[in-house]
Amino acid sequence: MSVHPDVRRGLRDVIPVLVPVVPFALVLGLVVAESRLSNLVGWLGASVIFGGSAQLTVVTLSAEGAGLAAIVAAGLVVQTRHFMYSAAFAPVFAAQPRWFRWLGPYFLIDQQFALTSLRMDDPPASFRRYYLTVGSTFWIVWQATVALGLVVGPVVPEEWSLDFAVPLLFVGLLTAAIDSRPALVAAVAAGAVTWATLGVPNRLGIILGALAGIAAGVGASRR
């Protein structure tokens, strides 16, 4: 069987990117299984949101009893970076058929952007094959691993405290996001304001903290 070179290249590139994603998806499934939430929240979110940090945010805040408005706001704010990916890809997608312009954005996660943005100058058909190979491989592995976590969750002994993997994941995402001095200022300001507003109901303090942090980051970058 012959595999198209674009497909082969896509598979070759996506495998190393999948390595850090597998434990994330596994923890996500485990956490839903061990929480008070229905497993449906894990199944549905994996395909409807198809984004690890946003789904983890929704799941964790829901399990802690946060208000709907705060959960949705926090989940959406986490995702705003996708505007940037969409803006960057708009010229590339303009040369693509209509069905791909509708399907493609669904796969536009962080790793997808990182890999496929390097292929923007490829011919449209070649770009499309590469993009779909990376996206669909990622999607299949993501769904299967979240599902594995949901199934294995009830079997894992409670003494392992695997729910602690959630704050660890957020700490890991935080340290990965602090890539400049203004980003550090943004994180510190957001943390401080969230701390000061812990008493605000429904965890709306997260939104207040995030907004303060973004403003502080912009302020710091202008000095």
Binding site: P20, H82, A87, P105, P167, A190, I206
Partner: protein
Amino acid sequence: MSLSSIALVATVVVGAGTYLMRSSFIHALAGREFPPAVREALRYVAPAVMAALVISLGFDGSTEVGWAEVAALVVGGVVGWRTRSLPWVLVAGMVTLWLVRAAA
């Protein structure tokens, strides 16, 4: 509403919003660009939101935070800063948690 129904509604809304953001410029806003100020602000969304989440989830009093948890988060933070690798953050943090608890 039960916790699960709230979570399901939030999942659908966040999922729909995510698709709209991912497709925004590809569909509706094709040919337009962000004002530079917005582009700048978007760069600080991730560090700000993640810091807010860590503080809100870690210090709301719902879970007891002991030495083992603090040690695990510090080790996880240092490993994340040095390696920028989520798997190593998980491994280092969980092993620290288990070791400190076993020693206590």
